[in-house]
């Protein structure tokens, strides 16, 4: 295995672990960003350049910022006074550990016959062509979804009008 892989993996894990365990929400988001960047790098390592860049654009550039905005609007920016973990956090942690155990065991138990393969060459042209031809319908549905999400988010976030009776 590659050293790059391990470094990037460590980065990602540290970032995400921090994102889930830091006290201040803003710090969590910042740590998340690091983790997401690490993931993007992994995508690049795997040869899916388009996806990697899309990851940075969308996740880091939009989702993380959005989360920061949300945190700031909900007064999560100040230091939290209450406990950060929910009352039955141990159950949650154990569930997560169990899930990991099951998954790891499944991965370990499955026979792996793949050996090193040559890096597939994929161009944006190919992706675009695939989007238009083979995945045309999902594309359109995505459009619809995004429109709906857009409208929904706007409505949700709008200040409520006080109805005068």
């Amino acid at each position: 295995m590659n050293l790059i892989f391990f470094i990037l993996a460590t980065l990602t894990i540290v970032g995400t672990a921090a994102a889930m365990s830091l006290r201040s929400a803003i710090h969590c988001i910042l740590a998340l960003t690091i983790g997401l960047v690490g993931l993007a790098a992994l995508y690049l390592l795997l040869g899916a350049q388009f996806v990697g860049f899309t990851q940075i654009l969308v996740y880091v550039g939009a989702v993380a910022i959005l989360a920061v905005f949300a945190i700031m609007m909900t007064q999560g920016a100040s230091a939290p006074t209450q406990p950060i973990l929910s009352s039955s956090w141990l159950t949650g942690v154990s569930v997560a550990v169990a899930v990991f155990a099951v998954l790891a065991w499944a991965i370990h138990a499955s026979a792996s016959t793949q050996t090193a393969q040559p890096q597939p060459e994929v161009s944006v042209n190919q992706i675009g062509a695939a989007l238009m031809h083979r995945f045309g319908l999902p594309l359109e549905i995505m459009g619809l979804l995004l429109t709906a999400a857009l409208i929904g988010a706007v409505i949700l976030a709008m200040p409520e009008k006080k109805e005068t009776l």
Partner: protein, 697 residues
């Protein structure tokens, strides 16, 4: 027997129907329309009388021989494969009975209108009277024993209603009950005989073109084999039917109801208990005489049935006249006299045949009705007084009644040339000549002596001597329930509506006997379907007996005159005969204590049975019912228990479990997203494990 197309024969059924319809119409009339009700009843009786006259003339015109019997039978209903028929019969016996019943009935109806005018229930009285008349006429014309029995029972019903007419008096309603029950005992025998007859011959019609139960073929069939005690079937049936006749005609031992039946109004006593209903028993025996007298031709002695009839009649004749000697109620004397005379009629039927018994029945109807109506007139005139010790010297107040009553009294005693003389003589003559024994003759002769004696006694007490009725013994003026009371204080003659029938009957009492004298036995020949011959020949055989009976009558009257004429001055003086023989007198006045004997034996037995039945009902039947109900209740309790604790509890438990599980499950839903997520995570793990484990080879 030719089927006649004469109008009267075809419409003979009108004769009983008209009074019954009148009775039905009167039953829905309001009580205050007395004149209307009485007129309707009297009119129906008058029309019935005219129709009976027409029937009588028709039979007269037919001449002689067997063709005299004409019957019309109609199909009534089907019983199995056969038709039950009923019909009516017109023959000489029917004709004379119809005439007598309608004529005497008409006179008594007219009399009743005067007698019951002040009674507030006059309308009801005429309704019952009309119904009775219809029933009696139905008995007379019935050609079927079943139809006769039905009318017989209706007569019993109306007798009950009329005896207990003043039902508010407990003694009257008790007397009515007694009459009904005692005659019912006789009717039980009647019914058994009827059933046996039907079983034996297959028909209950008397005459039916050769197929009737009184005709030759049926009778010979009944003589073939013997039944119980060596009697023939015809004798057995005859004896059973005689039980019914004995009950209705007051023969000993079923006579006890007749004296008590005097609680009814006097016209009732006259019509029903003297002239007609009690005579119905005699008429019944006359009707089924072929059955009673059917015997194997080789036998010369009379049949057992007729012998029994004669002996019972003889005992009754003697008994009645003995008891009448010691009575003090004017109607009771006449009642026991009726019992005695009915005994005579039975003797007549038994020893001499239908014509002998029927002759006395006809004459007796007239003079007994006359005597009762006269007694009613006396009671009415004395404002309700019935005790002869409180009457006396009435001859100067009620002359018409005296004349009529004397005519009746002489006829009853059998005074020569009066009606009773001829008829009673016939009986005594036949009894004397009876092949079995002469004892009935001697009993009848003693009875005739006693009859003359007690009637003379009664006459002296009521009409002669001084008026020895104490003033304070008057019936109270407002006592509407007793007879004839209307507030008058001195005895007086009755109104003409009452005395006219008396006089008419008196004429008949005198002259009716001449139709049956031995010199010209028109009546007897008419009944037997022969030509009557006027001749003096019978005098040679009969003059001795006529002399004996005349002597007996004069002897009896002489004794009466000796003991009673002028001897009674005060009401509370003891009776002269009582002074002579006090113990015998008291036995006689209590009618040989028969009523007491019955009360102690049968009535007490019945009471015991009643108590037994009551006990049985209360403890056994009631017990069973109680047990069943307790069982059911117990089952209900158990059911309730099961329902409450098992079913309910189970159901409740089930619901509780569901509730509890729901409550428990709802704990999962605590509204917190993260716990839902955890659950999903756990489910995912479980599913994954399941899949992997299942997929492992």
């Amino acid at each position: 027997m030719a089927a006649s197309t004469d109008w009267i024969v075809r419409n003979l059924w009108l004769i009983p129907t008209l009074p019954i319809l009148a009775g039905a119409a009167i039953s829905v009339t309001k009580q205050r329309h007395r004149v209307f009700a009485a007129s309707l009843a009297i009119a129906s009786m008058a029309v019935a009388f005219l129709l009976s006259l027409d029937a009588f003339l028709h039979v007269l015109s037919l001449g002689h021989g067997e063709t005299l019997k004409q019957a019309i039978n109609i199909n009534w209903f089907q019983f199995g494969n056969e038709w039950v028929k009923l019909g009516w019969l017109l023959d000489p016996l029917t004709a004379v009975m119809l005439l007598m019943v309608t004529f005497v009935g008409l006179l008594i109806f007219i009399y009743s209108f005067g007698y019951m005018a002040e009674d507030e229930n006059c309308t009801r009285f005429f309704c019952f009277l009309a119904l009775f008349a219809g029933a009696m006429l139905g008995v007379v014309i019935a050609n079927s024993l079943l139809l006769l029995f039905m009318f017989w029972e209706i007569m019993g019903l109306t007798s009950y209603l009329l005896i207990g007419f003043w039902y508010a008096k407990p003694i009257a309603s008790a007397a009515a009950k007694k009459a009904f029950i005692v005659t019912r005992i006789g009717d039980l025998g009647f019914f058994l005989g009827m059933a046996w007859l039907y079983f034996q011959t297959g028909t209950l019609l008397f005459y039916d073109n050769g197929a009737g139960c009184l005709e030759h073929s049926a009778l010979t069939a009944m003589l073939v084999h013997a039944t119980i005690l060596g009697l023939t079937v015809s004798t057995g049936i005859g004896l059973l039917i005689f039980c019914g006749a004995a009950g209705k005609s007051g023969q000993v031992p079923l006579h006890v109801w007749l004296p008590d039946a005097m609680e009814g109004p006097t016209p009732v006593s006259a019509l029903i208990h003297a002239a007609t209903m009690v005579a119905a028993g005699v008429f019944l025996i006359a009707r089924i005489y072929p059955l009673m007298s059917a015997h194997i031709p080789s036998l010369l002695t009379p049949t057992i049935a007729l012998q029994v009839v004669t002996w019972v009649g003889a005992i009754t004749a003697l008994f009645g006249s003995l008891v009448a000697v010691a009575q003090f109620d004017i109607k009771r004397i006449l009642a026991y006299s009726t019992v005695s005379q009915l005994g005579y009629m039975m003797i007549g039927l038994g020893v001499g045949g239908v014509s002998v018994g029927m002759f006395h029945l006809i004459t007796h109807a007239f003079f007994k009705a006359l005597l009762f109506l006269g007694a009613g007139s006396v009671i009415h005139g004395c404002s309700g007084e019935q005790d002869i010790r409180h009457m006396g010297g009435l001859k100067k107040y009620m002359p018409i009644t005296l004349v009529a009553y004397s005519a009746g009294m002489l006829a009853l005693c059998g005074f020569p040339l009066f009606a009773g003389f001829w008829s009673k003589d016939e009986i005594l003559h036949s009894a004397f000549a009876w092949s079995v024994s002469s004892i009935p003759f001697y009993m009848g002769a003693i009875g005739a002596l006693l009859t003359a004696f007690y009637m003379t006694r009664q006459m002296y007490y009521v009409f002669f001597g001084d008026t020895h009725r104490p003033a304070h013994h008057f019936a109270p003026a407002d006592d509407k329930l007793s007879e004839g009371s209307h507030g008058h204080h001195a005895p007086h003659e009755s109104p003409s509506v009452m005395t006219t029938p008396l006089l008419i009957l008196a004429v008949f009492a005198v002259f009716l006997g001449f139709m049956g004298t031995p010199f010209w036995p028109w009546f007897q020949s008419f009944l037997e379907g022969e030509q009557a011959v006027l001749s003096v020949a019978p005098f040679a055989a009969a003059w001795r007996l006529m002399l004996i009976s005349t002597c007996l009558v004069l002897l009896g009257m002489g004794f009466g005159w000796k003991l009673y004429a002028g001897k009674i001055k005060q009401a509370n003086e003891p009776d002269p005969l009582q002074q002579l023989q006090p113990r015998i007198f008291s036995v006689l006045s209590h009618a040989f204590y028969i009523d007491r004997i019955y009360a102690v034996t049968f009535v007490r037995l019945n009471t015991v049975f009643a108590h037994l039945s009551a006990w049985f009902d209360r403890w056994i039947f009631n017990g069973v019912v109680q047990i069943v109900s307790k069982i059911v209740l117990g089952a209900a309790y158990v059911d309730n228990f099961i329902d409450k604790y098992a079913v309910n509890a189970g159901f409740d438990g089930g619901c509780e479990t569901v509730s509890y599980s729901a409550r428990t499950l709802s704990l999962l839903q605590n509204g917190r997203i993260q716990s839902y997520l955890r659950t999903i995570g756990l489910a995912l793990i479980a599913l994954a494990i399941l899949m992997f484990w299942g997929a492992k080879p």
